[in-house]
Structures are given as structure tokens and as C-alpha cells.
Symmetry: C2
Subunit: 652 residues, 2 copies
Amino acid sequence: MVNEPPSASNGSASSRSDGSSSGSEGSKDSSRCSTPVLDAERHERLREKMRRRYDSGDKWFSLEFFPPRTANGAVNLISRFDRMGMGGPLFIDVTWHPAGDPGSDKETSSMIIANTAVNYCGLETVLHMTCCNQTKEEITGHLQKAKHLGLKNIMALRGDPIGEEWEEEVEGFNYAVDLVKHIRCEFDDYFDICVAGYPKGHPEAESYEADLRHLKEKVSAGADFIITQLFFRSKTFLTFMKDCQAIGITCPIVPGIFPIQGYHSLRQLVKLSKLEVPQEIKEVIEPIKDNDAAIRNYGVELAVSMCRELLDSGMVSGLHFYTLNREVATTEILKRLGIWKEDPRRPLPWAVSAHPKRRVEDVRPIFWASRPKSYIHRTQEWDDFPNGRWGNSSSPAFGELKDYYLFYLKSKSPREELLKMWGEELMSEESVFEVFTCYISGEPNKEGHKVTCLPWNDDPLAAETNLLKEQLEKVNRRGILTINSQPNINGKPSTDPIVGWGPSGGYVFQKAYLEFFTSSENITALLKVLKTKKYELRVNYHIVNVRGENITNAPDLQPNAVTWGIFPGREIIQPTVVDPVSFMYWKDEAFALWIEQWAKLYEEESPSRMIIQYIHDNYYLVNLVDNEFPLENCLWQVMEDTFELLNCPTEQ
Amino acid sequence: MVNEPPSASNGSASSRSDGSSSGSEGSKDSSRCSTPVLDAERHERLREKMRRRYDSGDKWFSLEFFPPRTANGAVNLISRFDRMGMGGPLFIDVTWHPAGDPGSDKETSSMIIANTAVNYCGLETVLHMTCCNQTKEEITGHLQKAKHLGLKNIMALRGDPIGEEWEEEVEGFNYAVDLVKHIRCEFDDYFDICVAGYPKGHPEAESYEADLRHLKEKVSAGADFIITQLFFRSKTFLTFMKDCQAIGITCPIVPGIFPIQGYHSLRQLVKLSKLEVPQEIKEVIEPIKDNDAAIRNYGVELAVSMCRELLDSGMVSGLHFYTLNREVATTEILKRLGIWKEDPRRPLPWAVSAHPKRRVEDVRPIFWASRPKSYIHRTQEWDDFPNGRWGNSSSPAFGELKDYYLFYLKSKSPREELLKMWGEELMSEESVFEVFTCYISGEPNKEGHKVTCLPWNDDPLAAETNLLKEQLEKVNRRGILTINSQPNINGKPSTDPIVGWGPSGGYVFQKAYLEFFTSSENITALLKVLKTKKYELRVNYHIVNVRGENITNAPDLQPNAVTWGIFPGREIIQPTVVDPVSFMYWKDEAFALWIEQWAKLYEEESPSRMIIQYIHDNYYLVNLVDNEFPLENCLWQVMEDTFELLNCPTEQ
């Protein structure tokens, strides 16, 4: 008997077909562990995802943004990515303005904003790129950079010619089709390519028909799908779509939706796009042109009814929104259309990055739970990412803590606000305890300001942490300054609204976790408690100060899985670990935040600054895991016992 | 701030020190997943394990065997390895007899027996090797072969010179020390080397003192530890040990214990070893020389008291037993000394191989649960073994089913016994159902013979399977011919005597599993049942016939973890999976066993043989997993529903 090659099942064998270079990318070095496990779509390229939606009939949307002008604008835009990402866009795209140095490393460049969206916000991202007035080398350089950053999708555009008297350059990039050809020629099938369609014909085209032929050329040259210029009537699009089909354009055509959000933005857009606003719209808008709210409300109504017509036509499954970097109108339209995902299922307990290199990643240390962007930043140079098991992490080093820019160490709040929350003037360590306590409790501090963030948590308390609120408040009051925690979970459904993640039908589990700073006096008592028989085999601890002096009882420095999930027909996923080696890297960051975010709010040599400096220099960072996940969390009792020992030291 | 390299903890950082070639061997290509996880000792070399015992004061033992003469003898010896392995020997060793072609590929050679012990029985194994009258090339060849097979330990001996008038060869191998030097010279630190010590001095040595000096030379040349020749009084050994220490021999010295098991074996041994039996022993033995039982009982008493003296001296922590390939006496001595492990903890749910290449292996398909040696055999050419997660197994192929020898497809029972159990003459498929039912129930068959094995299970029912006995009996009676099953387990302690495995303090889990052959009529009904709403998302199935026609609902052909464990301070272990790809390889073997083990018992063209052949050709092999491990196992209800449908087919 000879072994046959195992035959494909006639069940649900996936056909990850295209033999493109990108297919093997990222999985080239992959070991047996590198299986797509939880979410097949996460491993697909954009055109496959789009095809899957077209086949299933699921409606979807995408969002267009332009790069911000200032670093503060970038911070705000990224927060907007995070919030609008919650609604489940199929992709976002970032526009390209040759005058704004779009391919540079500036934190406001198109390239870097798109990089942030894909890597840090986990959004499938399309980067616009124009070719007019650029050399082949410049364009290739941009594309190579985009590829290096993990961008997989390009919107290929001509761009506006500079100067009035533009002439075709022989051998140069004169039209978008040249860019499409160039991308396919130089990068084979690596990128998914989108091109622009003009429902009314491009304003510079000889005719509507000629413009349709140009569009077909772009598709024939290798474009994967089309996004249209904005239009004001659904009929405009549907006619255009039929005309495209009639001349043999078969790729997806996504209508571009422009919600009217204000009188001036509409005027400007009309000027740029050389489109004419229909009379019936003008008639409504002109009388209310100074009432922004009224115009926005009208714009929302208009967009909703046009989108409904498009979706109802049966020819459209996806809608592309020109957001103008604003949130409210588009979100409202999407919600009213019912295509905003109200309760996005978390594929994993942490925010997944969309970089193709990270497609197999399914385990991270718990330490960066509130700072996922920092984690992604510090691991961006890794060649491969742990999956299946964290394993031995002693080899790959974390990036150094030298880039104090953008979101990595910077708070979203301005200095004045931080001072209000964290204290204009600190009197003692107890003032610091109070800040932590107020953050947990949600109560205002003595000056009446709510503490909505801490250097380690730029957002309010997570829903899960709220489960522990009462106990956390109690210990913070006593100088156990908590910065991360999770309750134990013994097999809740994966659809649980607070602790659930992954596909439905599964069960999720957690070991209780607590991480905090505290004084060396407290550490002495805590260690005595941890070494009692009651806890020594049950609780794992790592205790370290800023100098790296480290005390632990972790067996063989192995990682401890603290979150895991069991799903039907799948291997077990263990996405969060307490890894002793990574903890040493995290402690650098955790201690640095005291100084960079808090101490530096105050004058040098000021008492406030010296208090924070003292804590930084003398406190310890502690993490505790209660391994007995089926029993009641014992970590609060550990704290109680520690306080008791501190109160009656002589009894021991 | 600069990241320091993470400092070693002052906790229990392991020092896997030696920078030897062996240290990196096997983990060279290892990904981040390749962490030692459950059992640090499993990853240590013999001398480290020995050192660990000496340091901790834990008592241990080892067992010496000689190669068998016949293939049947080999099958018996391997069963003995499995049984005596249960007692937890630190290692076993296999002797080397130049006249018996010890380095050959014969199934009875020293090399192949040692290979079996290490790879298939999971025993740390020392292979003896003699050097006298051999060329450097022959010896290097043997050592290379041993290394290739995964043997890591050599007992370096001179061997008995052939012919009376032996003379030293210049540049040749004249003494064991030459072999030790050769091994270290050619294989650096790859092997752990043991040498022989003679408590009374070697019979050919000029003097006791001269022999001690020779021993020291062997240690200085690179030997790691010493096993002594047998002796009859503890004082002999203790004096020898002190004398060794006095001249600076510091490595472990293990006393060789010879339990007297019979008059003739003692006589022969004395002749070979040129030792003198003390008068007090002779006086007891001579009068009872024809009473084997009496001599053995005396031998046990004698050995127990001598071993107690040795252990009580505080100078001895390990005892080496010359078993003479017998089981009873040595086992009794060990039990009476309290160093036989009564309840060996299973490190994993399946028998671990001791091959250094497999040191990271911690996950296997469930299909080979009753045929672990076959699994090891069919995967022996793999370059690396799955750990952490089974992952995508489409690449590594299983070995072909062409080696029908020794234990791979052969039953321990002779043909006549098999016929008694499985039927001298089969009348119909129902006769086959009865055999399966009797195997499960433990009741004798119609001819009054108990069925203690099946082609797929060479041993009686596992304790765990006994939990399912009643239901299994019921379905087998109806032609659901079960060959593998496990109950669901929702978090039992890892120390559970039936389903527990791994270190204490953990929790083990299982999904219910059932694997069986059944007719195509039954399959039609079963599939209808499985596709009902009640089961379609809950139960995963794979159904295949001998031609590889395959029906499954497994998502994306992913493996399904069906056994996992959660342990303090560790990542999650998922040692057993249902892997759709491996199932296609297993089905070849499972179907082949019908023919090779059962059909071939009967004459060609006989009705009995044709019945088995019919089953082989027409039945399906099915596996079912109930993913709802916290709920009551639904697979029995699936069977009930199937039977009901078969009874009332018109109702559907």
C-alpha cells in the first residue's frame, strides 16, 4: 500500500488560490505553527475580502481621509481612526497631495498616516498615489517604502498637473494608467490597485465615452477595483455602472459618497471637482447656508436616501465615504443605513495590526494591554511574530525607548488638563495615591476635576476593569498603584459582551492579573505574604525596580498564559501571556512614563517633580498572577494580608 | 534611556550551561515555540539528570538488559521495557556482544534494541560498546549510527579479547580508555560516557591499586560516570568508592547490583567475571540449588538488604541492576526499597519518545493513541516536531506503510490465540460486531475466549475508555465498531488518576471523541443526523473510506485540539489534536490492519477472509468530536438518533 497524498475534502476546503508573490509573503519562513486560525479574512488581501462580500451579499463601507496639517491633528486623526474603526470599515484610504511631501517620514505625511492606520490601528488601508510630474525613480521609491511599511493597496491617480500648460511627457507618467502599469511591472501582484471612476466623465476628457474607455484601459492594465468621484443622484451612478459593464468592465465599482457637511466645504469641492450641484440641492442649501447644523442634517438625510437607493438597486454592496476627516455625519449615515457594526466582535483580546508580516501574530505580553500602539512600535522590526505560543522570547529584542513622538509616549490631553487631573502641586506620595484612586473611582479629585487618564492608561477604565473597581479603589488608596488588571474567568461564552473575543461558539478563560507600583516597604511585606504556603504555589510574581533588580518565582522564566480560548474545530488560542523576559523591557517603559509624562509637567527641582522622581527611583513594579482560575481570585486577599502585616508588623 | 539586556532573575533561572554541540542540537531550527515547557528534566542529558538527583538526594535506579536472540524475544523484551519503564528508571542500558553483530540493523542487535528503547519506549538509554579487536573506522561507524538513531550515551568497554594470546596493538584500541578518548576526539561532547569500575579490581589488572589508576585515566579521558561490576557485600563497594575518591575520582559511581535469580546463572556469571562467591552465600545456595523459587527469594532478600546498606551509607543515591532480562526479582527489590515509582505521572497524555530530536514535541494526532510506536515509526524522518500547536500539517508526510515488522503491525499474541479471540470462522459481519463488543465488555465470546486485543488495540481497554464502557458496548453491538474514544473532561485536576497528566497543580480538559468503522448504510443515516441543526455547529466529523473518499465539516481543514492542560506559571499545553490531514494517513493504516492482522489469519478465498475483506472495502472510518466540552457528551445521542433513523427511515 502506498500513501496517497491526502485528498482535499469535499467539505469546506479553503481555496487560497492566487499564486502571487504576496501569497507566500509573510508565510515564507513560517513553521507548522503559522496556520490561520481564528479569522480567515484577516489573512486575505483586500480584493479577496471585497469579493467575499460581493459573493455573500454582505453590505460594507469604506472611509476616506486626508493627511492632517499638524502633529496635534495627527493625534486627533488617529483617535478618529480608532473610533471609526469600531464600525467595521472594509478599508480606509488616505489621500496624497504632492505639495505636502506625502511620501516623507513626517508624522503628518500621507505615507506615515497610512502606516499608522495599517500597523497601529489595524485598518486595511489604501494609500493614494499620484504620478504626474514625477520621475519613475521617485514613484518606485514611494512604492517600495509603502511595501516596506506593510501597505498592500494603492489608489493609482494621475494627480493635478502643476502649472497651467501641462504637456504629455514622452516615456513619463501622464495618466493614471501609466502608474497602474508601472506598479504591475515593478511589483507584480504585490499591491491591490484601485483607480478612480468618473460617473459624469472626467472633466478634462473629450467625452463621457472616451472617459469610459480610459477607465477600461486602467482596469485592463491591472486595477482591481474602482472608486468613483462623488455624485449627487443615485441614477448618475447606476447609469455609469451599467455603461461600465456594457463595455466589459467587470471589477467592483464602489460609489463615492459625499455627505454635505457645510456650505463652504461643498463650494470648495465643487470648484475642485468641476461638478455641478443639482438645482434641487442648491435650493435647499442656499437659504440655510449660515446654519451649519441644518446643512449637516440635510446632508445626512440626502446621503441616507441616496445610499438606500444604491443598496436597494441590487448593484451595490459597498459604499465609499468622503469623510472630510469628520466623524459625526458619516457615522450617523452608516448607523441609519444599518451597516455600522454596533458590536464588533473582537477577534482577539487585543487590537490586531493589519501589517501583512503580523498576519500570524496571535499572542502578546499582557503588559502593553493599554498601550498596544507602543507594543507594535517596539516590535516593528521583528522578522516574525509569535503565534500558537509565546515561547522563549529571549532572542527578539524590543525597540529602544527613544522615539518620544506622536502617540507612543504622548498623551492626547494638553499639559494644562493633565495638571488639573494629576495635581498642579503635589504635597506627598499620598497626593499621587489620590490621583490613582480618583482615576479608578471616577470621582473628581480635591480640585473637582475628573481623572480620565493616567500616564499608563490614556483612556478611561476598560469595561472589564470595572468589574474589579471596588477592590482596585481600596488598594490604590493604600499605595498599591495599579496600572493593569484582569479578573479570572472560568469558561465564559466567547460572545460575552465584556470578556468575550473570537468567533462564537467558543469559551474564554483568564487567570486573574494585577500589576502595580508600590513602595519598597510594601514590597517587603508583600514578599513575606507571597512566600507563605497559602500562596507560594498558587501565585506567580515578578517584582522589579527601575534599576532592574528583580525577584520572581516563575518556573524557568517561562511565560504564563493568562488569557486563552477554546473554539469549535480549532486549536487553542492563548493570546495573552505574562512573559518574564518582556517584563524587563516593559518596566523600562512603565518607569519612564512617570518622568516623561508626569514629572516633566513640573518645574525642575520643584517639590512636585521631586515626589514623582522619588517614586520613579524607589518604587517597585509588581505583577501577580493567580494560577487558580477556577477558584475565587486570591489576589485581593494577598493585598489584605499584606496590609495586615504592615499594620501589625510585630505579630509576625 | 537604553534597554538593558534583561537581567537574570534571582529566582529559578535555569542554567542550561554546557556549550556543547549537543546543547544546540535539535533546537537549532527551533522557532520561538520551542521552549521546554512541562518537564525540564526531559531536556537534560543523562549526566545532568544524574547530577540533579545527586544534588536533591532523590534515590534512583537503572536497569541493564542484553539483546535477545530471536525476533519474538525482541517483542517480549520491548514489552518488558514498557512495563519496567513504568517504574521510572533513570536509564536502561543494552549490552554489546561482538560475536552477535551488535551494530547491525537486525531487529535483535544491540543497536536496534537500544534504538527501540530510546525512540519507541521513551527510555533514556546507554548503549554498551567494546573496542578490542576493532578498527577505528568500525568504531566510528557504530558511533555515528548510534548518534543518528538518537542515542546519546555510550558505555565504553574494552571487551573480551578474542583468542588466548592477545597482544596490545600499537595505535589500536587496547583498553576502554582508548575508546573514551576516541569518542571525545571524534564526537566532542555529544555523548555522555560511562565506564566500568571493578570494586575488587579487574581480574587482569596487576593490582587493585593499578586498576584504580586505570579507572582514573578513563575518567580523566572524559568519562562522565562509572558503573561497577557486581559485588556481594556492600562493604566491598563502599571501600572501593572511598579509594576512588582518595585518588581524586569525583564523578558519580553507581553500584552494580546482581540479584541472584538462579543457581546456574550465578555460576555462569561467576565464571565470566572471575569473582568469588562469599562462603556465607554459597552455604545458603548449595542446599537449595534445585529450587529456583527459593533461590530467587533468597536473592531478593540479599539484594534488598545490601541495597539498604548502600543507600543508608549516604554515599549512594542510584543503584544499577543487572536484570538478566528478567522482570520479577528486580521489580520486587525496587518496590521493597521504595524506589519503584508506583504512580508515575504522565508528562503528557501519550508516551513521550526520548530521541533528542523530539525533545520539543508536545502535540500529536489522537488517531495513534493506541499505536504510539507506529506513530513514532512513521514520523521518524521528520526534521522537527510540532510543539505548542499542531498547526498546518500539510507539508510533513508520514512514512509509508511498508515495514510490517516487529511491533509496527505485529500483534504480541500468536495466530492461534488471535483466532480464538477473533473467531476461527466468521459467519457474517455480525460475527465481527460481536468481537468488538466482547473486547469492550470484557465478556468471553461464544467460544468462551476473552477478547483482550484488537488489530487497533494490542492492549486491554484503557482506564479512561472504561468510563465509556456501557455506551461503547451498546453501539458496537449495532455495528458502530469503535477503535478509539475519550470522554469529555471539563477541568479535572492534573493529578486525576485516570485522566490526569502533566505536573501537579494544573487542570486538564478534553473534548469527547469517538472513532469507529461502520457500514455505508449507517453513514447515510449518520450524516443526516449530523447535518441537523442540533449538531451541525457542535460536532465536527471526518468520514472516509479506504479509497480516500472524504466527507468533513472541519473549518478550513484546521486541526481541532481535543486534549489540553492549564498549569501554574506556564503556557497552555494542547497535546492531542484531531488533524484532518493526518487522518488521511491514519486511515491507510487503520484500514490496512483489517487485512494485515485479521483477514490474513484465514485462508485466501475463505468466507471468513471475504467478510473482513468486504468490511475493509466498504466500511467507512469515522471520527466525531463534540466541541461542547462543558456540556454532557452528545455523541451518544448522535448514535441514538442514527439508530432511530435507521429503524424508522420513513419518518424522515
